[in-house]
């Protein structure tokens, strides 16, 4: 089998709270284990859906892959090469290959720049156009790709709706012809009917440009729709991963099952949302030993409070981290 485009191994990001000298002496220092040993891969042309609730570390994972923040430990391999060993020059080049689309279309576009400015800047940074005319043409091309027109090019972000701004953000990501696009909740802030438009657009663009997507979201129906494979995160760890049909039809991990049971489906004939987990989401700050779901899990046994379950392959391409399956 061909090598994956992106491979992430045992990726860790810990943040220190109260790390100053006085606090450390007083024993007040805490560690937020935002991403705590995450491994996955994505093949060229594939979409991996990374799903989890707030605080699970999915957004941090997205930022780590683009090296917007540096990992505490672990490997990030792009086309088999160790991305963390890249020189600053090489990393700069790589920014053309890996792009990020953010959640909030209202804060990700500079309000003081026109659409022309916003979309031509990446071209300038990476020397992708020689003169103003080339830039202008390319920007128009990009706007067309995302379903917008020449009448939009000299306007400012505030003149557009959320959906349109997100299209501009997508156009910006595409301007450097990336291989991997990381969407960090790219449709969560949009109205339902607009979400559908943007999801379709993303699918179209993927087919057209053989893009690879890491799609981060908390909405399970959206993840179901757009993903080929899915990884479920909980408090810094991947608890289950596999092909989308497997995860949705035959989930094994108690947390995955709880997530699926809790989603209210837009059909009164379907069962209402159910709670299958007690308590609140565990904290990533200095977590206790053992499995993160211990304390809420209906299957928990004594080992769950002592040893962290490893992510193991239980069926072809289906991995789960649980002691009791």
């Amino acid at each position: 089998m061909s090598e994956p485009l992106l491979e992430v191994k045992d990726l860790v990001k810990h943040f220190t709270l109260n790390g100053d000298l006085v606090s450390r002496i007083a024993g007040k220092t805490q560690t937020v284990k935002a991403v705590d040993g995450v491994s996955f891969y994505i093949h060229q042309g594939e979409t991996l859906g990374l799903v989890g609730e707030s605080g699970c570390g999915k957004s941090t994972t997205g930022r780590l892959i683009t090296r917007l923040i540096e990992p505490t430990a672990g490997d990030i391999n792009l086309r088999g090469e160790d991305m963390l060993a890249f020189s600053p020059k090489r990393m700069r080049e790589t920014r053309k290959d890996v792009q990020l689309v953010f959640q909030d279309p209202y804060s990700s576009l500079n309000p003081r720049k026109t659409i022309m400015d916003i979309l031509s800047r990446p071209l300038e940074v990476h020397n992708l156009a020689d003169n103003w005319h080339e830039k202008r043409e390319r920007v128009l091309e990009l706007l067309n790709l995302v379903g917008m027109g020449s009448e939009h090019i000299d306007r400012y972000p505030h003149e557009f709706s959320g959906g349109q701004r997100q299209r501009i953000a997508i156009a910006r990501a595409l301007s450097v012809t990336p291989d991997l696009v990381i969407g960090d909740e790219p449709v969560s802030a949009l109205d339902v009917s607009i979400q559908a438009q943007i999801l379709n657009l993303l699918r179209e663009l993927q087919a057209k440009f053989s893009l690879t997507y890491l799609f981060i979201a908390h909405d399970l129906a959206v993840i179901r729709h757009i993903s080929d494979r899915v990884a479920v995160m909980y408090v810094g760890k991947i608890v289950e991963s596999g092909p989308v049909e497997t995860i949705f039809n035959e989930p094994l991990h108690p947390y995955t099952k709880a997530l699926l049971a809790a989603v209210p489906e837009a059909d009164p004939k379907k069962p209402p949302p159910r709670l299958t987990l007690e308590g609140e989401v565990a904290t990533p700050i200095d977590p206790p030993p053992g499995c993160r779901l211990n304390g809420r899990c209906p299957l928990a046994t004594s080992i769950c409070g002592e040893v962290e379950p490893p992510l193991l392959e239980v069926a072809t391409n289906h991995q789960v981290a649980c002691h009791n399956l």
Binding site: A196, Q197, E265, K270
Partner: protein
Amino acid sequence: MSEPVLELDNLSVQFNLKRGVLRAIDSVSFSVDKGETFGLVGESGSGKSVTARTIMRLIPQPPGEIASGTVRFQGRDLYEMSDDEIREIRGQNIAMVFQEPMNALNPVFTVGSQIGDALRTNMGMSKLEARERTIEMLQLVGIPSPSARIDNYVHEFSGGMRQRVMLAMALSCDPTFLIADEPTTALDVTIQAVILELITSMIERFDMSLLFITHNLGVVAHACDKIGVMYASHLVEMGTKDEIFANPQHPYTKGLLRSIPRLDVQEKFLTPIDGTVCNMMDPPRGCKFNPRCSEAMDICREQIPEFRELAPGHFAACHLHDQPTV
């Protein structure tokens, strides 16, 4: 038949701004009966939140203005009441739960003092009585160790817990009517399920009526008896939950239902509604949905359609249902 608990009749609310007049709600009529849960559904700009605030008399006038219509609670016109009378209604009879509990609850007072304040003001309780009742309420909504947490500040609670606190505050004065404006939108899906179940059980337990405002059709499918769909300031369709989902009559409702990704099946492409919602400062002539409607006719671009009853209890505002002229 007993009269409805809440009745909106031809209500229109506009905002008189420097740059023009913004009509936020236009001729909206609906009612909620005792013990009923009414889901008001719509996307951004539909006017659903303004509707909730209008009912509670929370719209500042100016720049807001009730251009027409009435809001009646238990038969009484809320806008005919004095400030004292409406203050009594708010908190004691009608309570409201908002989307962002961090913004709705006061960060500089403890949770206990805020709920206690409402109890002392509205129910005339003593400090001690109020404290006891507050602990009771916190227990009821599932806050662990309520006698300890009563003295915590809002920031010491998680999102889901804050929403429970808000619910406790809303329910503390035994209201007969609860308005919940996107109460679970900011919450994770597992916490959402908990809060929804809590709201439903409280409604049943205290025999309350509920107006549930949301953009999430999944939530109304399970939490509401009746549904009203709003688009660009108009109520475009209304009916029982089963009718709306099984037999939607308005093209917007149909489009909305079709555009939602399903949990049980992966479709290659979704069926979105084309275009975007109109500029409410300069809306199109006729039906405001017409630029996006696949079934638009000439009359749609000229006349705003009437909100009429198509079948018992099922209303829609669409020219597709106009009687042919003889």
